[in-house]
């Protein structure tokens, strides 16, 4: 084991394409910090991202990074985990990638509960295509594709995930780095599918959900008296409340993982010797004789 790594060891040499002030910088630096503090090493981290501004993040985290097609980060990440359970598998994407084009996979990843961490960088807009409404944009949000105001209701991703059987739900704010690092560390350590939705403002296109707006409209559940993240109905209450946006660990349970329910061998599939047990193959033909 090498000496404890620092966040810099998870940096790539690639310059960022994000706009100055983008909330995604906060997410990236918190992730690097969390991985370093957990003693992870880049070779054992698989980082899968989707498409969009948020999807660029995989290029900036020194690891085995996979920048696939739009909306499909979770199937890729699930299979990476099944193929090599020794890896720390993290998927990341935006509200469009995760809650629009990838919404189907989001639900099914929640149901399956693989030991994968999913970071949803929510800026309530489509950034890379220059500011259209997203699944989390407020009704009435005016954009190029919704000049008369967005007619759709915003999606409450965490409430949906809770209903679908989510085993770990948290929400952070990219302007609160310390808190975010803590949330990410606990999420990565959670044995199951852990979702960390991060409020990550778009400074270029979203003039409504700004840093100031989030500071005004959020609160941490652990600062509220008696909040119990093990209480599912309590979690529903705060998630469905139309007041301020709750942050922190909203819900967690110890439901069995996909790997456990599949009886996945301890030894990674990727490490199997493919030339062994040839003799056993012949016996399978007995059924056809």
């Amino acid at each position: 084991m090498t000496a404890t790594l620092s966040p810099k060891d998870f940096a790539t040499a690639t310059p960022s394409w994000w706009c100055p002030g983008c909330g995604d910088y906060g997410v990236l630096s918190a992730l690097k910090q969390a991985l370093a503090e957990l003693g992870k090493v880049p070779k054992d981290v698989a980082f899968v991202s989707g498409i969009g501004c948020s999807g660029k993040i995989s290029g900036y985290l020194h690891s085995y990074a996979f920048h696939g097609v739009h909306g499909r980060a979770l199937p890729v990440a699930t299979a990476v985990k099944l193929a090599n359970r020794d890896l720390t598998v993290i998927a990341a994407g935006g509200d469009g990638d995760g809650y629009a084009i990838g919404a189907g996979h989001f639900l099914h990843a929640v149901r399956r509960n693989p030991n994968v961490t999913y970071v949803v960088m929510d800026n309530q807009t489509y950034g890379l295509t220059k500011g259209q409404s997203s699944p989390t944009s407020a009704t009435g949000y005016v954009t190029g594709t919704s000049p008369q105001g967005n007619p759709d209701a915003p999606l409450n991703g965490l409430a949906v995930a809770l209903a679908a059987g989510g085993s770990f739900l948290a929400r952070g704010f990219s302007a609160h780095p310390k808190k975010l690092v803590e949330l990410l560390k606990i999420a990565i350590e959670h044995d199951g599918f852990s979702i960390v939705e991060v409020m990550s403002p778009c400074v270029t296109y979203n003039k409504i959900n700004t840093y100031a707006w989030f500071k005004e409209n959020t609160y941490y559940v652990d600062e509220a008296p008696g909040y119990d993240p093990g209480d599912r109905s309590h979690a529903f209450d705060v998630l469905l409340d139309e007041g301020k946006i709750p942050l922190g660990i909203l819900y967690r349970d110890g439901r069995p993982t996909l790997e456990a329910l599949m009886n996945l061998p301890e030894r990674p599939l990727a490490a199997l010797d493919l030339n062994s047990s040839k003799a056993d193959f012949a016996s399978l033909l007995r059924a056809y004789r």
């Binding site: 696939g68 097609v69 699930t78 030339n275």
Partner: protein, 598 residues
């Protein structure tokens, strides 16, 4: 009296058990030492709708249906109506006469009719209408001389897991069928008989099972798929056996997830596959492009059915060839392989994984309903002969900074690390990237990357399964075809040869990259070229024309009614164009055979 050469068709309503009985008969034929081919023609529903199951047995391995049906077991009038024209003159019909009668015009005088009140016997004598199938097996066994001991043994084997009572009931049903024939039709022979031969060391296997088995033997340890006819068998087989060999099969939420899971597992270093059919293939297209640009080895089994859209999900067609070769935005290296027999399904499937990993690209195994859901007898599959070559896979540490995942090399293939390897960390991005994996829109890099990736189509040529050339290599009549048509084409070729007509047949096993040199060589000296395929537009014919240029003596022999070819259809096309009429005619559609048969 015809011995050891018979095609039986079971026709009735879906869900009435004729598939189980058909499988039973196929097993009995096999154990009697005969070569068997089966073809399932069933509706896309679980209960009701006309279904039929064809079982062909002969001393010669045919891999396809005969010209005609010899014996039709009809559980209802609809089966007679649908198939009476397919009967060979001199054939026979077993008809369940419990509640229907066959009207005069349908009662062909040139076939023997056995009216048996199957349902009535089942209900009155055995107390369960469901066993009328087994009674019909008893009737058939008696009529054509199936070995009674083997019949009883196989029936016992099939129903054993349902308990002694069920076994006993079915054995009594066999006896009831035999007794009915003895009592009513003892003086009325069917004209068909069987002579048992040595069973020997053979298998009776379905194409999809052979594909799955080939994948397992070749080291595939991850499969993700979404149920779709006629590919589901592959996922079911893998779900049963992969865990026993340390692997995993996942039923995904859709084909988009399935193919992306395959990419994830393959990226992580596990040999991975999916199996689907046209509609699923369409959904997978984007991610297959990603596999091409990320240079990830994956295997996609395409079990083709009729399209477009839902088409006829349980019927056969070869209309997805263009889709596999040309689908997707942008350009990637890809391989399309097509087995022609159940046996070859195993070897081609196993080979696909080596090609995928050696050239780091998607490899398709293309088959269709008439082959992948058909059973055939074959020699034991040789798992020991399958060697695994993982190409430029790197599992030991590399030096970070020196190592380049997408390095330019002579053959276009770069050393491939997998997650967990020290020093190999990189970004695998669907965006254009440089040798290190860093995203770039630099035009020089773009051009070199395209040349590197597409160049693999050239460097892989030597490694691709070669076409098989059948018949007389100097014959003036040349046929092209692939997949399930291999059976009827070879049979047509052999029969024409027996009539003194020389024919050669080019059986494609690699369809992409297109074997241009082989095709050009093969057509040289031919006076008539026939392309046999199951689609409307002549997808294979057009690929061949890219190589040969327009030939006024090229004939498209095509079919798009959901049914596989029978040999006579190919023979007739050849007779019409090469033997009776002069060159220059193009067959748009075959004259319906029904008129001729009646």
């Amino acid at each position: 009296m015809t011995f050891n050469d018979i095609e039986i068709m079971f026709g009735g309503q879906a869900g009435d058990g004729s598939l189980t009985t058909g499988d039973l008969i196929a097993g009995v034929f096999k154990r009697m030492g005969l070569e068997v081919y089966t073809y399932k023609d069933f509706p896309s529903r679980i209960r009701g709708g006309h279904t039929n199951y064809v079982i062909r047995a002969s001393e010669h391995r045919n891999y396809g249906m005969a010209d005609f049906v010899d014996g039709l077991v009809a559980f209802d009038l609809e089966a007679v109506e649908a198939h009476i024209t397919e009967l060979r003159p001199g054939g026979f019909v077993v008809f369940d006469s419990t509640s229907e009668t066959v009207p005069g015009p349908l009662r062909r005088p040139d076939v023997t009719w056995y009216d048996v009140p199957l349902a009535k016997i089942a209900k009155q004598d055995l107390g369960l209408e469901l066993v009328r199938n087994t009674i019909s097996l008893g009737v058939l066994a008696k009529l054509i001389g199936m070995d009674p001991a083997i019949v009883r043994n196989d029936v016992t084997g099939v129903y054993q897991r349902k308990g002694e009572k069920v076994v006993d009931l079915n054995v009594r049903a066999i006896e009831a069928g035999e007794a009915y024939v003895e009592k009513h039709y003892a003086e009325w022979p069917s004209g068909y008989g069987l002579k048992a031969r040595e069973d020997g060391d053979r298998l009776l296997m379905m194409g999809n099972d052979a594909i799955a088995y080939g994948a397992l033997v070749a080291g595939c340890r991850f499969m993700a798929g979404y149920p779709i006819t006629p590919a589901t068998d592959v996922l079911e087989w893998m779900a049963k056996y992969l865990p026993k060999f340390g692997g995993v099969a996942v039923q995904a939420e859709d084909e988009l997830a399935a193919i992306n899971m395959v990419l994830g597992a393959a990226f992580t270093g596990v040999r991975a596959m999916t199996a689907t059919s046209g509609p699923g293939q369409a959904l997978m297209t984007e991610a297959i492009g990603l596999a091409g640009v990320l240079e990830i080895p994956i295997v996609i089994v395409e079990c083709a059915r009729t399209g477009p859209s839902t088409g006829m999900p349980t019927k056969t067609e070869q209309s997805n060839l263009n889709h596999l070769i040309f689908s997707g935005h942008g350009e990637i290296p890809r391989v399309v392989l097509a087995p022609g027999t159940v046996e070859d399904s195993f070897y081609i499937s196993a080979r696909a994984f080596d090609i995928a990993e050696k050239y780091q690209c998607p490899v398709f195994v293309l088959t269709e309903q008439a082959l992948c859901q058909s059973k055939a007898t074959l020699p034991p599959l040789d798992a020991a002969s399958v060697e695994i070559d993982r190409g430029k896979l790197v599992t030991g540490p590399v030096v970070f900074g020196d190592y380049r995942r997408f390095a330019f090399t002579e053959d276009g293939v770069s050393p491939r690390v997998i997650p967990g390897v020290e020093g190999g960390m990189h970004l695998a991005a669907g965006s254009e990237h440089d040798p290190e994996g860093v995203i770039t829109e630099n035009s020089l890099n773009r051009a070199r990357m395209m040349e590197k990736r597409l160049g693999k189509l050239v460097s892989m040529r030597e490694d691709l399964p070669e076409a098989r050339v059948h018949g007389d290599p100097d014959a003036e009549i040349a046929i092209f075809g692939y997949g399930s048509n291999r059976g009827p084409i070879v049979e047509a070729l052999e029969r024409l040869e027996r009539d003194g007509v020389a024919v050669r047949f080019f059986e494609f096993r690699t369809l992409w990259p297109f074997p241009e040199a082989g095709v050009a060589d093969f057509v040289a000296g031919a006076k008539h070229v026939f392309v046999v395929e199951n689609n409307y537009t002549g997808q294979l014919e057009r690929l061949i024309r890219y190589v040969t240029g327009p030939l006024d003596y090229m004939h498209l022999v095509n079919k798009y009614d959901g049914k596989p070819f029978r040999p006579i259809e190919i023979i007739e096309a050849i007779e019409r164009h090469a033997l009776l009429r002069g060159p220059g005619e193009r067959v748009a559609e075959l004259v319906p055979l029904k008129a001729k048969r009646l």
